[in-house]
């Protein structure tokens, strides 16, 4: 940085970056760091979120979380979404590979696969409530195929969670797909041509050219999948409200905090979730060192 303004302007010059950072830092501290600090503090109290009175309860909330099994069961629901995201990544990878080769109507298929990711979550919730309805879209299609069923798709915990996880795949597949496709297409085309000339099969092209090229995106997708399955909220909340065993960790936390006024306990739950997500991110960074991390 050249400074031609002389010594008199130095203090002002030193102040300049802070003037630009004033508003951003104020917002960052108010809406990200202050809540984290408060949340950790609340988690050691029995505060109800309204009354001026609160008592320090030590690790009481945390022991309650770990010992009351129904509070912990929500983690099993995350399992459905985790399995679904594995399928989602595999499908996205398949479609990205297929569409990176010469295929007719490529842009149409690309658009169709990506569009669900852009749709409003509440609208998706309603579309699929009707889809799984008794006599709705799914039953009608099965009827056309000659399968008569009166199965209540959202009626049992297993069926409901599987259906909701399916909706989640339907909604989020597009982002993974477009990310993979972008990574594949950034591999120079001559590489494929050279491989083709050398007689490499499609599978060999995938294994030795595509796979190494998409590693960073793949590891990003895995971390998004894990933290995403732990913090599922919209789809189950809109579609079932958490009924029939579809309650997720975030739905439970929101209910604890805003319906049952257990701010202390809800904060402890949120701290646990935050720690898990941070640990997962840290582990992922350890396993796959990302060269792009050093941003500045």
């Amino acid at each position: 940085m050249t400074d031609t303004t002389g010594t008199a302007a130095r203090p002002a010059r030193r102040l300049t970056p802070w003037l630009f950072l004033l508003a951003p830092l104020a917002l960052l501290l108010t809406f990200t760091y202050a809540p984290i600090a408060n949340m950790i503090a609340y988690s050691f109290t029995d505060w109800d979120g309204v009354s001026p009175q609160l008592d320090f309860t030590g690790a009481g909330n945390y022991t309650e979380l770990l010992t009351r099994s129904e509070l912990f069961e929500v983690f099993f629901v995350s399992g459905y979404y985790l399995v679904a995201s594995v399928a989602q990544i595999a499908l996205a990878l398949y479609f990205a590979t297929v569409l990176s080769f010469d295929v007719r109507f490529r842009n149409f298929f690309k658009g169709v696969l990506f569009f669900p990711y852009l749709i409003n979550g509440v609208a998706i919730g309603f579309v699929f409530l009707y889809f799984f309805q008794d006599g709705g879209t799914l039953d009608s299609v099965l009827g056309l195929l000659g399968v008569r069923t009166d199965h209540a798709w959202l009626g049992t915990p297993f069926s409901a969670n599987t259906s909701l996880a399916g909706v989640s795949v339907w909604r989020h597949l597009g982002l993974n797909f477009v990310l993979f496709l972008g990574a594949i297409q950034s591999v120079p085309g001559e590489l494929y041509e050279a491989a083709e000339l050398d007689g490499a099969s499609r599978w060999q092209q995938f294994r030795y050219i595509i796979a190494p090229g998409i590693r960073p995106i793949l590891s990003l997708s895995v971390i998004l999948a894990v933290s995403g399955s732990l913090s599922v909220f919209e789809i189950p909340y809109i579609m079932t409200g958490g009924a029939t065993g579809t309650e997720t960790f975030v739905i439970q936390t929101v209910k604890l905090a805003f319906q049952f006024n257990k701010t202390g306990l809800a904060s402890a739950a949120a701290v646990v979730l935050l720690l898990i997500v941070l640990v997962v991110t840290w582990v992922q960074r350890r396993i796959v060192p990302d060269e792009k991390v050093d941003l500045v």
Binding site: I36, R104, F126, G136, W170, G182, S231, T263, V277
Partner: protein, 276 residues
């Protein structure tokens, strides 16, 4: 050769199947939105076409009784202010971090980096208390402040772009007597246009679709944005799937139009946003 042909056929089959899986649930909702309540009750099934494909009665009901007009108005207001604010906040942060060397710079950078790892859903329990104590609960300011103040991805996007703007441009302007603010406004901001376009698209779609924040912070019915207003269809329209479907279609159509016109920018935008 036949093996290749068979593989090709399978590929197209899988693509067609995927297209069907994506489009069928949406198409059925479109069909349903055009049916009358008598048609819904006559047992013709979900896949039956409507008697009158130009029956827009349900849309009128959804628009009028579902308060969709004020919902679109509120969404537009929040969207414009929040996206505008995000652009200012993000570009100012990027400018300060990239173009100046100052004490505690590393600390500031670390604060922003670390914040990107904190999923917003986890901290709402405590964020709620802060928003409430600032008197913003149940007002349009709550989502505006939260969208503006917690968007780290946009800062990343601006940082990436600002690095590609040669510092010599800043210096030339400085030699002409411009101060830091003039450089930011006259040199940096105009050259950040591609980044601004990306942020407008990614942020705009996120704000338009967000449900969690307006649901938590704006319980008043007249403060409904499209997500929360559509969500409220569940109550009064209960089993009236034709009205609910019309509401859902009303919400999806603007997204579809934007997508069809801005496809290329949208793909690039989300790629940049996610790989930050």
């Amino acid at each position: 050769m036949t093996r290749r042909a068979a593989a090709r056929a399978l590929v197209y089959l899988s693509l067609l199947l995927a297209t069907l899986v994506v489009l069928l649930p949406l198409a059925v909702v479109l069909l349903t939105s055009l049916k009358s309540s008598e048609e819904m009750a006559d047992g013709s099934g979900a896949l039956a076409p409507p008697d009158d494909p130009l029956n827009f009665g349900n849309y009128v009901t959804a628009f009028r009784d579902g308060q969709m007009l004020s919902a679109f108005g509120n969404t537009a207001l929040v969207l414009v202010v929040a996206v505008g604010g995000t652009i200012l906040i993000g570009s100012m942060t990027a400018y300060a971090i990239d173009r100046f060397r100052f004490r505690f710079r590393k600390v500031v950078v670390a604060l922003f980096l670390l914040a990107a790892l904190v999923p917003g859903v986890t901290t709402q329990v405590a964020t709620f208390q802060i928003v409430d104590s600032l008197g913003m609960f149940d007002s349009l300011w709550a989502p505006i402040a939260l969208y503006m103040g917690t968007d780290i991805v946009s800062i990343y996007i601006f940082l990436q772009f600002i690095r590609s703007i040669p510092v010599s441009l800043d210096e030339a302007a400085r030699l002409d007597g411009a101060n830091a603010f003039t450089v930011y406004r006259k040199v940096i901001l105009p050259l950040l246009k591609p980044a601004i376009a990306t942020v407008v698209i990614v942020k705009g779609i996120n704000v338009y679709n967000d449900f969690y924040i307006p649901f938590l912070y704006m319980p008043s019915e007249d403060l409904g944005v499209i997500s929360t207003s559509l969500f409220r269809f569940k109550g009064p329209f209960g089993a009236h799937w034709e009205t609910i479907s019309a509401g859902a279609v009303l919400v999806i159509v603007p997204t579809l139009i934007v997508f069809l016109f801005l496809q290329r920018f949208i793909y690039n935008g989300f790629m940049r946003g996610a790989t930050k």
